[in-house]
Every structure is written in structure tokens, then in C-alpha cells.
């Protein structure tokens, strides 16, 4: 492969700088003892301390993580079962209908999802708060899980199932010991994506959150509307740290499973 020219390298470097600059800018000023993002006075950890001393903020943080994990888990179960159901459909037309319906929430703008869920919850009388946010997050995560699991199911050789049945496995055994282990990487990817979507969501949550309940995104939004607070910078520092750790962890796990799959072959 030919080497990249200096201009190409420069372009890539520039893109990377622009992508990362705002993030490092935020983190840099999170250590600023002055109250703004313009003059760096002296190094301090007071803003980080402020995050951990603010019980309201901590509750919001816990809620956000709790919603992400719970919605990810439930969406993964519904989505995986749905994907298995879709794949085993014999009727091609029906199957395509399901696939199109599945994609509706993925391509719909957040605002429309948020607004329509707000109407839905009001109509059926769900109180806005933890429940409505959790249910909405499950709802918009399900199709992502389906999309992550489907390719794995499709590449699976159906003779594996036939073989298991011939060897006397019950339907339950086939599901638990043949299908699920095979599609496990897809399920994990789906779960992971669902969590990411949940943590990142702002618009849908903003519509269905009501008073008194808040997730990190919504809280940052209301803080940012009020102006610059270095507490937000400290939160960014923490979020960045966690993100990098998760990425490293995910890659570690991923490589290990890949290596193990390689061994078993």
C-alpha cells in the first residue's frame, strides 16, 4: 500500500485535533480554580469535589446508570427473542413488514419519538418520571438489539439446529445450548449499543421526564442553559475517563473472545 502524503497526514491530524479539542478543552478547564473557561488561574480539584458532594447530582448520576443498565438488559431480552422470531418466519412478506417496522424508531427523529411517547404516556396514564423514562429507553433500544443480533442469526448454519434436534436435543436445549451461544457476540454488541444509546439520549428523555426526575443529559442541558459552570467540566472529565475505560475493557473482552473462538476452531 502506498504511503500517505504529507498533506493527507496533515488533513487527518487536523480532523483529529478538531474532534478532540473541545473535549480536552472542557477537561483542561475542569481543573481551573477561576470560575470560567477563559483564564486558567491555578490547578484545583474543587470542581470534582463539588460533583461528589452534590447529592442531587449523584442521585441523577445513579439514575442515569440505572436506567441505562435496566433498559439495556430488558431491551436485549425483547430484541433477541424478536430477532429469533423474525428469522424463523416462513412468510417472506410478513418478515419484511416486521423488519421495516423494526427500523421505524431507528430512523425517526428524536423529537418525534419524544413527542409521540409523551402523548402515549399521557393517554394511558403513566406518570412521567422514572417509569416513563425507563420504558422509552427500552422502546428505542429494542430495534438496535434486533439489528445487532440478526446478522449473527442469519450467518448461522441451520444444519446446526437440525443436527442438535437429530441428536435428541429438546427445543429448549437447542435455544439455550446451540442458538444462544452462537449469537452471543451479537447479543453483547446489542446490549452495549443499547446502553450507549440510553446514556447518550437527550431529546426523548427531555420530553418524557416530567418534573422531579432527571438524567445526566437533561441536567447538563438545564445547567448549560443557565451559563458556564465548571461542575459540568468536571462531569465531562469523569465521563471521558469512564468512556475510555469502557472502550479499553470492551476491546480487551472482544479480543479475548475472538482469540478463544480462534482456538476452538
Amino acid at each position: 500500500m502506498n504511503k500517505l502524503s504529507a498533506a493527507s497526514k496533515g488533513y487527518l491530524v487536523l480532523v483529529f485535533i478538531v474532534l478532540y479539542a473541545p473535549i480536552f478543552y472542557l477537561i483542561f478547564y475542569s481543573f481551573n480554580s477561576g470560575g470560567n473557561m477563559n483564564d486558567f488561574e491555578s490547578f484545583t480539584l474543587e470542581h470534582y469535589k463539588a460533583v461528589f458532594e452534590d447529592t442531587r447530582l449523584l442521585v441523577i448520576l445513579i439514575n442515569t446508570v440505572l436506567i441505562a443498565l435496566l433498559s439495556g438488559l430488558i431491551a436485549t431480552i425483547i430484541g433477541t427473542l424478536g430477532a429469533i422470531g423474525i428469522v424463523s418466519m416462513k412468510d417472506k412478506k410478513l418478515r419484511n413488514t416486521f423488519l421495516s417496522l423494526n427500523n421505524v424508531l431507528i430512523v425517526s427523529p428524536d423529537v418525534v419519538i419524544g413527542a409521540s411517547f409523551l402523548i402515549l404516556f399521557t393517554m394511558i396514564g403513566v406518570k412521567l418520571g422514572f417509569t416513563s423514562v425507563l420504558v422509552s429507553h427500552i422502546a428505542f433500544s429494542v430495534p438496535i438489539v434486533v439489528l445487532m443480533v440478526l446478522p449473527k442469526l442469519l450467518e448461522m448454519n441451520t444444519s446446526l439446529i437440525d443436527a442438535a434436534r437429530d441428536l435428541g436435543a429438546t427445543k429448549r436445549d437447542v435455544l439455550m445450548r446451540v442458538i444462544l451461544p452462537y449469537i452471543a457476540p451479537g447479543i453483547f454488541a446489542g446490549f452495549f449499543m443499547a446502553i450507549t444509546y440510553s446514556l447518550d439520549d437527550f431529546a426523548v428523555t427531555f420530553f418524557v421526564t416530567g418534573n422531579g426526575f432527571s438524567t445526566l443529559s437533561v441536567e447538563i442541558y438545564s445547567m448549560a442553559r443557565a451559563g458556564i459552570t465548571l461542575t459540568i467540566n468536571a462531569i465531562s472529565g469523569l465521563v471521558f475517563l469512564v468512556t475510555v475505560l469502557v472502550v479499553i475493557g470492551y476491546y480487551f473482552v472482544n479480543n479475548r473472545t475472538k482469540a478463544r473462538m480462534g482456538e476452538s476452531k
Binding site: 424478536g82 422470531g85 424463523s88 427523529p109 423529537v111 418525534v112 413527542a115 437527550f202 431529546a203 462531569i235
Partner: protein, 267 residues
């Protein structure tokens, strides 16, 4: 086998009914209600008034600009990325910023573009007066492009990565210049990636409301901002739903324009 799979499908079917079909039906229903809940087509009439048509037009114009600049930056980046050693690692590094909460990244620009922020400090070095960059069209488009770049790069990278390099070599051997090779071979073969990139940029760009509020003040009003305004501020769900109906229509049209031909396979 069949009955087993029916039970597996059950929660999923409930999900589709409750969170895919019902919301769309409800939005349609509400779009035909006035403030006191009477059946009316007034909202649709309002949508075709000058104010809303102008807003729709500007919303489209901004979404177009955002998509255009995002593509302009993302395509070469994706192309060059596929040429690097350890390309998966570099792609990973492009994706990481997209995992940092959207709100945090937007908030960063409130500081960066601020009157005393680094950009203005830089401008002052050259002897210019500090400018108000926040609350302008420029800042809105810049921040949106920044947000969407990774999402545009991923599908383009994937389609470039799948491209068989011998096709490029063949074109070059047959005497095509590098530009012709790109225009006649590489680009047409990666058009699907570009289309998915446009899909994930254009539709959200039409409906942004958080960036408009934080970065553009109330200078820029998009369809998304209008929906949020109607639902959460004016409490006029009817009008909000009507705008949502049109947003859905625009979304479907965008999908049709950027739709991809189904290839073989079991689904």
C-alpha cells in the same frame, strides 16, 4: 417449532404495537385536534401559512448545509483512514468522541465560541475586535457538523473498506487518472455508504433542537425546535403533532431518496 417461536415473538410484537404503531397513530390523531380537543384541520392550514413554510424552508436549508459540509469533511477522512496502518484503531479513535455525551460537546462550544473564549483570543492576536460568534448561523452549522462527522465517517469507512483494491489497480492500469478512478470507480462503489451517512445526518439535522437552543440562541428555528416549542412551551399538542407529521413525511421521503437496493441474502 412454530409455537415456540410465537411465544418468543410475543413481547416483540407488543413492543411494535405499543411503541411503533400506536405513537404514529396518536401523532396523526392529535394533529387533527385543536387546543380544546375538537376535530379540525386548522393545524394543517396553519402549517401552510407563510411563517411555517418559511421555517420549513430554513430548516431544510440548514440541514442541507450541515449534511454537505459533514460529507465534505468526512469522505476524505474516511478515505485516508482506510489507507493508514492500524486502520481499525484509528477508526476507534474517531468513534470515541461520538460516545461523549452530546450535551457536553455542545456545552464546550459555549466556552470556545464565547466572547472571551479561545477563538476570540486568537482573533485578537491579529488585531481584530472580539466578535460574537455564538448565536449565529455559523456557530450552529459548525457545532452540528462537528457532532455529525463521526456518524458520517463510519458508514463511508465501511463501504470503502469493503471495496476491492484490485478494481482501483485495474482502473489505473487501464490508464485512468487518479481523479477519474475516484469519480468512476471508487465513488460509485461507495455510494451506499454515502447514502447511509446522509441518512444519519440529514434527518437528525432537520429535527435538532438542543443545539439550536444552546448555540444559536433563538436565531435559528428548525422543525425540531418548533415541535419542542409547541409541546413543552405553548402546550399546543395539536400543532406540534402536525409539524411532527410533516417531519415524518420528510423523513420517509429522505429514506426513499437515499434508499438502497436490497441485495441477496436471507433477509
Amino acid at each position: 417449532m412454530q409455537s415456540k417461536n410465537r411465544t418468543a415473538l410475543f413481547p416483540y410484537v407488543i413492543w411494535i404495537a405499543l411503541f411503533v404503531i400506536a405513537p404514529i397513530a396518536l401523532v396523526l390523531y392529535y394533529s387533527m385536534l385543536d387546543l380544546s380537543g375538537n376535530f379540525t384541520l386548522e393545524n394543517y392550514k396553519n402549517f401552510f401559512s407563510a411563517i411555517y413554510l418559511k421555517m420549513t424552508f430554513t430548516s431544510f436549508w440548514y440541514a442541507f448545509l450541515i449534511t454537505f459540509f459533514t460529507l465534505l469533511i468526512a469522505y476524505p477522512t474516511a478515505y485516508l483512514l482506510t489507507k493508514t496502518k492500524h486502520k481499525q484503531l484509528w477508526l476507534m479513535l474517531i468513534i470515541i468522541p461520538s460516545w461523549i455525551n452530546l450535551l457536553l460537546k455542545t456545552y464546550a462550544f459555549i466556552g470556545i465560541f464565547g466572547l472571551y473564549g479561545p477563538i476570540n483570543a486568537f482573533i485578537e492576536v491579529f488585531g481584530f475586535d472580539p466578535q460574537q460568534i455564538l448565536f449565529t448561523d455559523f456557530s450552529f452549522i459548525f457545532v452540528s457538523v462537528y457532532i455529525f462527522i463521526p456518524f458520517m465517517i463510519i458508514p463511508i469507512f465501511n463501504s470503502l473498506d469493503k471495496l476491492n483494491p484490485s478494481l482501483v489497480f485495474a482502473a489505473r492500469d487501464l490508464g485512468a487518472s487518479s481523479w477519474t478512478t475516484f469519480r468512476r470507480v471508487v465513488f460509485p462503489l461507495t455510494i451506499d455508504g454515502v447514502k447511509s451517512g446522509i441518512q444519519v445526518t440529514f434527518i437528525p439535522a432537520l429535527s435538532l433542537f438542543m443545539i439550536t437552543r444552546l448555540i444559536a440562541g433563538n436565531q435559528v428555528i428548525t422543525l425540531g425546535t418548533a415541535i419542542e416549542q409547541q409541546f413543552l412551551v405553548s402546550q399546543n399538542w395539536g400543532m406540534g403533532s402536525t409539524i411532527a407529521v410533516f417531519l415524518i413525511v420528510f423523513m420517509v421521503l429522505t429514506m426513499m431518496v437515499t434508499g438502497q437496493k436490497k441485495k441477496g441474502g436471507r433477509v
